[in-house]
């Protein structure tokens, strides 16, 4: 017990990893098709799009901030891209860059409000959630954008093209997800930037006193969060051939749940990309698995809520145990 709790303290992702294995074992033992290639292929396609947002959110939450506007940017960015492409003569590549640039700008605005006006990120990004969603609805009159003429574009193949390995169909988005996960894991654990991110969330005043540029660090993370949310939205719009101004509604909370379940501290200072990847799969496999074993899909939130509460209790207990030893 002592060794296990020590392991759980040092590696916060171990608890979620045990839960993930348990879920796979339980779901597969009830319905063996759970681990079928078709099911894995379908689950991976959507999982990694939401996962891209969760990866950026991990770094942002480690620095002690939130971004509630990611779901709206997931909807707004592709809407802007397709509105530009369909309504003007500019090529898809340029429309893509313009849309991502707008997402970056929104991230900058979020960061500026939080760091210079000292408004809590919860409130700033809640406001931005409404601004971005409202903009998406206004410029489309609430209707989805045409996307079906993207099939001949190299960019759509580059972003979401698929390859068939036997019966397994893999999308390019999986490659983007793995690339971003490796880069952000490296950044958080091995670099000076990662040290600054953790210090900014752990004790911002102490970090500032040591010369850490806390505000600049946080602004960069808001930009990363917005850019990846927009990028994920574009990928999703091409894969599903639909740029709906309402898409991404409610994603912000699901993404935060993925990050928290993975072991990243809600109040900042400690984060883990490996844990987030596990958290992403826990939530997606839960959604998929409970339907496959015959539990009504509407009960999904009950299980997710219970897992969040359980994981928070585990991390809180480990933190207290760690403190009392000090």
């Amino acid at each position: 017990m002592g060794k296990l709790s020590k392991l759980l303290s040092v590696r916060p992702e171990v608890g979620p990893a045990i839960l993930l294995v348990l879920l796979i074992v339980v779901f597969t033992s009830i319905n063996p098709k759970f681990l079928s290639i078709l099911n894995i292929s379908n689950t991976l396609a959507f999982t990694v799009e939401l996962g891209l947002i969760a990866l950026a959110m991990t770094l942002l939450m480690t620095s002690g901030e939130f971004d509630l506007s990611v779901g709206s940017l997931f909807g707004l960015t592709p809407v802007i891209m397709w509105a530009l492409f369909n309504g003007t003569d500019i090529p898809l590549e340029l429309a893509f860059l313009c849309a991502i640039a707008i997402a970056v700008f929104i991230g900058l605005v979020n960061g500026w409000f939080v760091t210079y006006l000292k408004i809590p990120s919860f409130l700033v990004t809640l406001g931005m959630l409404l601004v971005a969603r409202g903009t998406a609805l206004y410029i489309t009159d609430g209707f989805p954008q045409r996307t079906w003429n993207a099939s001949g574009e190299w960019l759509s193949g580059f972003l979401v093209g698929d390859i068939q390995i036997g019966a397994l169909r893999l999308y390019m988005s999986l490659f983007w997800f793995i690339l971003v996960a490796v880069l952000l894991h490296y950044t958080l654990q091995k670099t000076k930037m990662g040290n600054w991110i953790q210090a900014s969330g752990g004790n911002a005043d102490a970090a500032r006193a040591r010369g850490v540029r806390v505000d600049a660090t946080k602004i960069k993370l808001f930009v990363l969060s917005s850019a990846l949310a927009g990028f994920a939205g574009v990928i999703s719009s091409i894969r599903t051939s639909a740029a709906n101004p309402n898409s991404g509604t409610g994603y912000e909370l699901e993404v935060i749940a993925m990050v928290v379940i993975g072991g990243t501290a809600l109040m900042g200072g400690r984060g883990t990309i490996v844990g987030t990847v596990i958290g992403i799969f826990i939530l997606r496999l839960m959604r998929n698995g409970i339907v496959m074993i015959g539990v009504p899909g509407l009960a999904y939130n009950i299980f997710i809520g219970a897992i969040i509460l359980g994981m928070m209790a585990l991390h809180s207990w480990l933190d207290r145990r760690n403190q009392s030893r000090g």
């Binding site: 091995k190 000076k192 040290n195 953790q198 004790n203 102490a206 040591r210 850490v212 760690n322 000090g326």
Partner: protein, 249 residues
């Protein structure tokens, strides 16, 4: 007489109509441990905040090694060789000892663009420093600060100041909330810092702690220095208490 390290001339600080410091003069020499005493509201904290760059003086000048300097931020103070250690150590409890020691001045391995931390160097230096400040327990440098005792945390903060060649280490109530053994540990860290050529300003409510480590005692009252050359070897705790409370006049 050793080198004059810090000289504060006629330094004042006002908060609106309230004068927290009214023209203070203070000198600290190299290798000297100065005890700064005074009752609540005497101006000790304000004086230290000005010297550590946390607040800007309203008037007067500060000179370091004979050169007049501007103290606009804590990083200015650190750049001028002044390190402040607060009661809560100003450490990031989630980070390891090694990462705290190098926070803001991380050594980089390989390409600067990739910004990869030189963790081997950080661990080696941290282990060496922990021995230097007198931590006898074998604590790995990868241990998070949250797993350390209050005294050990102060030791890490002192080790950081020593490593980055701070000329002056300001200790603001470092023994508050510590047990007897841990307090003795912190006092020993101060002696070790002095032995390695660092100057210290030591602030504590417990006069007995101050008497054990300082070379000279400075007493403040109502925003002014009322005594600045008390030798702890030739005076008594009671006499200093009378000066602090104004019962001497």
């Amino acid at each position: 007489m050793s080198e004059l390290l810090v000289q504060m001339d006629n330094v004042s600080k006002s908060y609106g109509p309230v004068d927290a410091l009214g023209g203070v003069n203070l000198k600290v020499y190299r290798g000297e441990v100065v005890g700064l005493l005074g009752d609540n509201g005497a101006g000790k904290s304000t004086l230290i905040k000005v010297l550590s760059g946390a607040v800007k003086a309203t008037g007067g000048t500060i000179s370091i090694k004979g050169k007049t300097v501007e103290m606009n931020s804590t990083t200015d103070a650190i750049d001028h060789g002044i390190e402040t250690i607060y009661q809560d150590s100003a450490l990031v409890t989630q980070l390891s000892i090694a990462r705290n020691l190098f926070l803001g001045r991380e050594p980089i391995k390989g390409s600067k663009f990739l910004g990869r931390l030189d963790e081997d160097k950080m661990a080696a230096v941290a282990s060496e420093l922990l021995k230097e400040v007198g931590i006898s327990k074998d604590i790995p440098p990868t241990t998070p600060i949250s797993a350390l005792s209050g005294g050990e945390r102060q030791a890490v903060a002192i080790a950081r100041a020593m490593h980055f060649e701070s000329d002056l280490i300001i200790l603001d109530e470092p023994t508050n909330n510590l047990g007897v053994a841990e307090t003795q540990g912190v006092l020993q860290f101060v002696r070790n810092a002095k032995a390695s050529g660092h100057s210290c300003i030591f602030i504590a409510h417990n006069i007995h702690h101050v008497f054990q480590v300082v070379d000279r005692i400075v007493v403040m009252r109502r925003g002014a220095i009322v005594a600045d050359d008390i030798d702890p070897k030739t005076t008594t705790v009671e006499a200093v208490e009378r000066i602090i409370t104004g019962m001497d006049s």
